[in-house]
């Protein structure tokens, strides 16, 4: 940030002119349907040009006095009601010509997208439809064509989710508060692919670490022995913060 910030100095070389930006925030919002073992992403149908009637990530343009994170929370709150959620910044996509609006009004206005990555509990999340039907959870394996470069942003978010699962306890932000060890295992298998570990070993390893507490409550899902419901004990997890590969 060393350049002069005065717009008044007109430089003959076009290159030298600073770009004026509008900054958008786009959210990649994930949740997991434990019943069907599917990883879901929240999409909205655009109601305006450009890309009208095209599915897209829920997003907004940043307003005066609003921080990037505030904007991310605002968009989220407009679409779903949740009790808990995990949110972090993903990446900033900002090349020229990533938004067709740049070409039209072309006063050098650029559109930059700061993307955020969010995890919510599927059971708790209430979609705010407001009559308009253009909002839905899509299995990440079956997302339709998306507006702008949102396909790329979603893919980036998916990669981040896979990485985060390996060392951080984000899974417990997506799972219901009480879950069976099989729910947890299925989540990992769904996101990371079937070949990351054997269920018995996964189970034994996590239990030994001691941050999963058995509530004693049993649930029966059809046939088979009923499973115990476990809770994540955040305090007991503390020593494992910053340790890599806790969950393999």
């Amino acid at each position: 940030m060393e350049e002069s910030n005065s717009k008044q100095i007109v430089n003959p070389l076009k290159q030298q002119l600073l770009a004026d930006f509008k900054v958008g925030v786009d959210n990649v919002i994930f949740s997991v349907d434990t019943n069907q073992n599917r990883l879901l992403a929240l999409l909205v149908m655009r109601q305006q040009e450009p890309f009208c009637n095209c599915w897209s990530l829920p997003g907004t343009l940043v307003r005066q006095g609003e921080s990037l994170e505030d904007a991310a929370y605002r968009t989220l709150a407009e679409k779903i009601r949740v009790k808990n959620l995990y949110l972090e910044q993903l990446y900033t996509f900002g090349g020229p010509e990533r938004d067709p609006r740049e070409a039209v009004n072309s006063y050098g206005v650029r559109y930059l997208s700061v993307s955020y990555f969010a995890l919510v509990r599927f059971e708790e999340a209430q979609l705010i439809t407001d009559g308009i039907p253009g909002i839905a959870w899509y299995p990440v394996k079956q997302v339709p064509q998306l507006a702008f470069d949102h396909q790329e942003i979603l893919a980036y978010g998916h990669r981040r989710l896979r990485n985060k699962l390996e060392y951080s306890p984000v899974a417990f932000d997506v799972l219901p508060e009480m879950f069976t060890l099989n729910d947890l295992y299925q989540l990992y298998a769904t996101v990371l692919g079937e070949n990351f570990s054997d269920y018995s070993n996964f189970r034994a390893r996590l239990l030994k670490l001691g941050f999963l507490s058995d509530t004693g409550i049993k649930v029966s899902r059809g046939a088979g022995r009923p499973a115990s419901l476990y809770k994540f004990d955040a305090a007991a997890f503390a020593p494992f913060k910053d340790k890599p590969l806790v969950f393999i």
Copy 2:
């Protein structure tokens, strides 16, 4: 990105007005002095207000038609000449009031900083001083007060470097092309802290993986047996891409 992008519609609620942004790029540039085992960051002395005569990360404002990455490369090229470098986006800092200029001209212009993280080889990097003495490598343990929120950005970059060292071969972008195994070990020890592994084990493990090739050339650093110079074999490393904790 769903809002109307027309500036003309004046909304009585100030909140509803979109913010206009200038976007800056700030680079956290690291290198390692293998002779003194020090991790260094490149700082520049600001020549303008605000924060004139204050040390800061090298940065620039993004120009028309320029991508974020282009801007990052441009700043870098203005400060140092390097043959190879590693560059990736770090994080976007964008709260209101992070830049004092927002208060002054206060037409709702916001300053947003997209930070980039770069690694260069200390030996190859030629600082471009151009008479002005305000550019220097600082040991990260001894950086002075920095302008804006650059302290925070630097800390963030340092954390990223530590993480990247564990699974990606970025070390070889900071080390000279040929290095001793001790250079490599010292780099890890310097960045990760002295207690990450024992030298013998570190050495044995990496050699077994087979992507370090012995050039046969020996160097003597004072007393003791001369050490072999090794090279990083990028092709041989390929199978370890995406594998976590290759370097522990």
